[in-house]
């Protein structure tokens, strides 16, 4: 194991920012009061929770009373789906996409076995949605349309504000899983038709264990976790104060760093991608123009992702793969398969996801090791040997 750690798996989770951790610490010790208490000791904590709520609202262009703190992005997604069904008992149809995160995808598949109908929208080879198909999928009894803002594997960005407008025109609620998009894509909820939006703290440098659900004023809502009156009766359970404070601080940082994500981080990502594409039989997955600035899904054909990851790990490089072997399932990534990425490439896909903490030296470290790793694995791949032979047999091919 190399001493050096190059962390490029930020779509999986991010480092909690030192500023965030510092902001949280007093709330584990000194300020332990319950925000709901009548005394000042608790009340002062309640005021800090409100500050955090304001910080999140500002990042999203929302009002503080539209922000509900939850335990994670998955809880926010589940809450949105279940609330839409519970608040409109006559409506039993949901529209979503084939490339959602499991938080939405598996929940919808579960609902489909319980008497609800779900339409899973297709994507094209670039990972883009067909807006007309989305509009046509909406029916009289559609309770909710749920479409992710940006894909966690490829970074492809969906035209979420436009889809929300289509839904609003038809009087249908719209939810978006914006876990990967927040902090990287400008979001202005006040000026949008989005009914609900989920985000996750640990994807933007807050710690794990905190999420947010935005609920637009006037959206019918039934709580998912029932009990006390916390969060204005929308999410019961004593507030997780230190993490809420951390979430607020992370939101404030994300707002100030949005430019950096789209300039510095994007430049690093592009430098990495350009370098990797010099390797033979390599391709980028997803629409290169409509993508998150930090994400790169690269397929190295004829090799399997797990082997690549283990060799990278030995050099201290952290990335992830859409291959079957790494996930414990037997099928490669549902996202890449939905896009029609061929098996030769889907099994050998590696996702690099950067953050503001990455440097040019990190990128160069990867570019130094990657060609050798791929070459080693290809040398033992029967398909690579066949691919090479086929190329040699091509008329006009000159032996190098």
């Amino acid at each position: 194991m190399s001493e050096r750690v190059v962390y490029m798996d930020n779509n999986a989770t991010t480092q909690a920012a030192p500023e965030v951790v510092a902001a949280m610490l007093p709330f584990f010790g000194e300020y332990y009061g319950n925000p709901s208490s009548m005394h000042n000791f608790g009340g002062q904590v309640g005021a800090k929770v409100d500050t955090a709520r304001g910080q999140v609202a500002q990042l999203l262009g929302a009002s503080p009373e539209e922000i509900v703190f939850t335990s994670c992005g998955t809880e926010s997604d589940n809450t949105a789906l279940m609330s839409a069904l519970a608040s409109q008992p006559g409506k039993r149809h949901i529209v979503t996409t084939r490339v959602e995160h499991p938080a939405v995808l598996n929940t919808c598949q579960g609902l489909a076995t319980q008497g609800y109908e779900v339409t899973f929208l297709k994507v094209d080879r670039q990972g883009n949605l067909d807006l007309e198909a989305a509009a046509e999928a909406i029916r009289e009894d559609t309770a909710l349309v749920s479409v992710m803002w940006a894909n966690n594997e490829t970074g492809v960005i969906f035209p979420v504000p436009e889809i929300a407008e289509i839904c609003a025109a038809k009087g249908v609620l719209f939810h978006t899983d914006a876990v990967q998009a927040v902090g990287k894509v400008p979001i202005d909820l006040a000026g949008s038709a989005i009914s609900m939006l989920a985000l996750s703290g640990h994807k933007l440098h807050a710690p794990k264990g905190i999420g947010v659900l935005y609920i637009k004023k006037g959206t019918p809502f039934v709580p998912f976790i029932k009990g006390g009156h916390q969060e204005h009766g929308r999410r019961a359970g004593t507030e997780n104060v230190p993490y809420i404070i951390g979430m607020g601080k992370a939101a404030e940082l994300a707002r100030t760093r949005m430019d950096e994500e789209n300039t510095k981080v994007k430049a690093l990502r592009d430098r990495l991608e350009t370098g990797l594409l010099k390797i033979d039989a390599t391709m980028v997955n997803g629409d290169p123009e409509r993508r998150l600035p930090n994400t790169s899904s690269v397929s190295f054909e004829f090799v399997e992702g797990e082997g690549i990851l283990l060799h990278l790990s030995a050099q201290g490089i952290c990335a992830s793969s859409g291959s079957a072997c790494t996930s414990g399932s037997l099928e490669p990534s549902h996202v890449l398969r939905a896009m029609g990425v061929p098996f030769t490439a889907a099994h050998g896909s590696i996702r690099f996801s950067l953050s503001v903490y990455n440097t040019e030296a990190d990128v160069d470290h990867i570019l130094e090791h990657m060609p050798g790793i791929i070459e080693r694995l290809r040398a033992m791949s029967p398909f690579w040997a066949k691919h090479q032979k086929a190329q040699c047999a091509t008329p006009g091919y000159v032996e190098p």
């Binding site: 399997e304 072997c325 037997l330 033992m380 791949s381 398909f383 690579w384």
Partner: protein, 284 residues
């Protein structure tokens, strides 16, 4: 992250016998790109008919590469008769074990070796062409499933998936795999096994018995769970196999109540009373 043994890690990071013997006596190719792993095994015999050299080319994860490399080490010096007896279990044991989800990598090794020996003997390359394809996603036949189940004492569909991948794609063939296992372990000669009676065949009940059993099951299995959520259930009528119930309290206004009924009440009644029961909700 998978828990690999040191031996698996060693054979993955420093694989031996990588490549292809060009004038091989036996060539075995199994797996495919779509499946996510594939292995091409070549061997050369010496004058005594023992395997003098073996090489591999593998597309697959770390444990597939390690299993292939280990296999080439293991077969060197073996006669073909000895090599024919080598099983996936031997490969996994040689490596100090594999994660259960990765056992199919050792099966791929065994299959490639068998294919290479058949190739040497001038037989059809793929013994898997015998039998009927059960799993369309990964092209696994009933014969292969039976063989792996017998060799490794596998009794569940999940185990079969771990060893052969069958049933791990769309999942549609899982019932067929279960049927193969049922058939196999009912008739398997050496296995002194407990044969479970098929769950569906319950004793025929009289109407009175059925009614009583339904009431008991609702009381014991269903009502406490609903009450915990502030709801309740009332048995309205039983019409042959149709059980009419009414939900009270919080359940009745909940959008998920239909799901509660379908999934929960019906499954409990089917489990404890009869497979044929259908639950319907009556509005109070």
């Amino acid at each position: 992250m998978w828990e690999y043994t040191d031996k698996v890690k060693k054979y993955f990071t420093e694989p031996v016998n990588v490549g292809e013997i060009l004038d091989a006596d036996g060539v075995g190719e199994v797996g495919s790109l779509a499946c996510g792993d594939a292995l091409k095994l070549t061997f050369k015999l010496d004058e005594q008919g023992k395997i003098a050299d073996a090489k591999f080319q593998t597309f697959g994860c770390a444990s597939a590469i390690a299993s292939s490399s280990a296999l080439t080490e293991m077969v060197k010096g073996m006669t073909l008769d000895e090599a024919e007896k080598l099983t996936n279990k031997d490969i996994a044991d040689f490596l100090g074990g594999l994660p259960k989800e990765k056992m199919h990598c050792s099966v791929m090794g065994e299959e490639a070796l068998q294919a290479a020996i058949r190739n040497y003997k001038g037989l059809e390359p793929l013994p898997s062409e015998e039998g009927e394809v059960v799993c369309q996603c990964f092209g696994v036949t009933d014969k292969e499933i039976e063989k792996v189940a017998l060799n490794n004492d596998l009794h569940s569909v999940e185990e079969i998936t771990n060893f052969t991948k069958a049933g791990g794609g769309c999942g549609e063939c899982q019932d067929k795999i279960q049927a193969i296992l049922d058939r196999l372990w009912d008739t398997a000669p050496k296995q002194p096994v407990e044969v479970k009676p098929p769950a569906a065949k319950k004793k025929k009940l009289t109407n009175i018995q059925k009614m009583k059993l339904i009431e008991e099951t609702l009381e014991r299995e269903v009502r406490p769970a609903l009450k915990a959520d502030g709801g309740d259930i009332e048995l309205i009528d039983i019409d042959s196999d149709k059980v009419l119930v009414s939900l009270r309290g919080r359940c009745s206004s909940c959008a998920a109540s239909q799901a509660t009924l379908g999934q929960f009440v019906q499954s409990k009644l089917r489990e404890f009373v009869s497979e044929d029961l259908v639950v319907e909700e009556v509005k109070p």
